[in-house]
Amino acid sequence: MELTKETQIHMLKRMWTIRNFEIKVMEVHKAGEFVGPAHPYIGEEAVAVGVCSALKDTDYIAGNHRSHGHPLAKGGSIKKAMAEIYGKVDGYCNGNGGSMHLADFSVGILGESGIVASSVPVATGAGLASKLRKKDFVSVVFFGDGASNQGACHESMNLASIWKLPVIFVCENNQFAITTSYQDSVAVDNVSDRAPAYNMPGVLVDGQNVEAMHEATAEAVKRARNGDGPTLIEGLTYRFEDHSLGLGRVTKGEYRSQEEIDKWKERDPIDIHTKKLIERGTLSESECKEIENNSIEEIEEAVNFARNSEFPKPENLFDSMWANPIPKP
């Protein structure tokens, strides 16, 4: 089934937003405009965008340290995302969180987690609430191939399955956890091969193909909203950049060959999707280019917004500690 023109275009836009956001983040990090760590999502855009384009605003997502793609795909404010990375008061989290802790509850983004696999149980709980309170929303969690080896994944998938929760487990298999190949760390060929251990469907999807990701998600969403329980989707993808800004020292070329990187770059998710749109006549080449250019502008605005935003003030240090504040110890 072909996706609507609107969805096809929407997905291209979102992928460009993420791509250009990440390019800019790398640029300003290099220039020393912010210091914290940041994990570029370049090359993996089709995963988050494919998944989130199959969700409603009322659905929830949670993610991990490779964190910028998920909220941008879900529709979080680009400006606030950038301001957060700058540690500014207009960021999603008023500068408390930074790159690894983006969150925008207003559009269902329950937050990214610096501790690997730690948001998997949390997202499962949002799904539990949906079921217990008979709501319609589903909950999606993004985690990596490395994360799949954590006990938290096992426990959460088992819970989601026995309780038939509307949860979608999205493994972004970019084939490495920092320098460790998933082939050396995951005992099975594909992470999705573990789905039968939880009596849930497991689907291996081409993570460079945004439409394939969308479709697999749409199917999982349907099951979830029907009360048929969780799905494990594995998007096979590749991280084009270093693991983390600042780690270049160890993570360049020593654990994966330039050849391999180049081979994967030929499967750029944006190129693949753009080609399709042009072939189908959904968009012209120049319309595609315009989308790219618009996103560059949009990111430029976001960076300016972030630069112009203030740093939080000392007197606000304790502001977000408690819902019902307590005296300072």
Partner: protein
């Protein structure tokens, strides 16, 4: 006011809050049949969507409770203090940190009820008293009820609070009886259990009862102790403690936790900093020995605070 057993008081608080608010639910291991004695009849009254038996997956379901709380529910999680180790990641990385990391967006009205069994031959794996560790980490409120009234009133407050709370339920109090009212007990307000002039004794959880007994006996020897039950450790009502030490000039802290970096250490250090000029003698900690809980009854009883240890501590402050 009616008299209730500690465990009943807990049960009553849960049932009342579940009746009041459909977003409150409870989950834990074997709670439908009330294996740990505090969840009797809940399943019958509230059914399977409000009373959930979980698999043995504490990290998983502690975290699921967090997720449910983020989207509007108010989960109560039943567990045992010693089972929290397997779920520390969700307790610390998520429950404690999430709200702050997300700039206040996350509301986390989740309550962990950790039964704290010690003194009954359960050995090292089942005898933890770990509240001091959670005190070190900001983000979780900590209640330590010392009687039936606390048990009900603090639990109700916990359920209504929008922050994560761990309630350490001292199993040594399970069978004790006490007055229970319908009023919530606010967090951060210590109770002066007994007034006195010579020495302040701060007790924690089950040690409040012990401290009171010690104080009553010391009274007969002409030593007048003021006994304080902090009720919550986060927030800690340090004013009440400091005011008392201002009056008595002496302080003994009785804490069933391991002595090093204990709640007793913390309270002592607060007074050594902020109440130093009131002090007439050293601050004595009566806490558990820095050893694991041995199984053998001949050894186990040596570990915890007891009356004799309190007597000699109080007397040493008066020398």
């Amino acid at each position: 006011m009616t008299e209730k057993i500690f465990a009943e008081a807990i049960n009553e608080a849960i049932a009342e809050e579940m009746r009041r608010d459909p977003n409150v639910f409870i989950m834990g291991e074997d709670i439908r049949l009330s294996v740990y004695g505090t969840t009797a009849n809940l399943f019958k009254e509230f059914g399977e969507d409000r009373v959930l038996d979980t698999p043995l997956s504490e990290n998983g379901f502690f975290g699921a409770a967090i997720g449910a709380s983020l989207v509007g529910m108010r989960p109560i999680v039943e567990t045992v203090t010693s089972f929290m180790w397997v779920a520390m990641d969700q307790l610390i990385s998520q429950a404690a940190k999430m709200r702050y990391m997300f700039g206040g967006q996350a509301n986390l009205p989740v309550v962990y009820r950790a039964s704290m069994a010690y003194g009954g031959g359960s050995a090292a794996h089942h005898s933890d008293r770990s509240y001091p560790m959670f005190m070190n980490m900001p983000g979780i409120k900590i209640a330590v009820p010392a009687n039936s009234s606390d048990a009900k009133g603090l639990l109700k407050t916990a359920i209504r609070d929008d922050d994560p709370v761990i309630i350490f339920e001292d199993v040594n109090l399970s069978g004790t009886r006490g007055e229970v009212s319908d009023v919530d007990i606010p967090f951060g307000k210590a109770e002066i259990v007994k007034e006195g002039n010579d020495c302040t004794i701060v007790g924690i959880a089950g040690s409040v009862k012990l401290s009171l007994e010690a104080a009553n006996n010391l009274e007969k020897e002409g030593i007048s102790c003021e006994v304080i039950n902090p009720r919550t450790l986060v927030p800690l009502d340090k004013e009440t403690i400091l005011n008392s030490v201002e009056k008595t000039g002496r302080l003994v802290v009785v804490d069933p936790a391991h002595k090093v970096c204990s709640a007793a250490s913390e309270i002592s250090s607060i007074v050594a900093e902020e109440g130093f000029w009131f002090l007439q003698s050293p601050i004595i900690k009566v806490a558990s020995e820095q050893v694991h809980i041995p199984y053998s009854p001949s050894l186990e009883k040596l570990v915890y605070p007891n009356l004799d240890k309190i007597y000699s501590a109080v007397k040493s402050t008066l020398e």
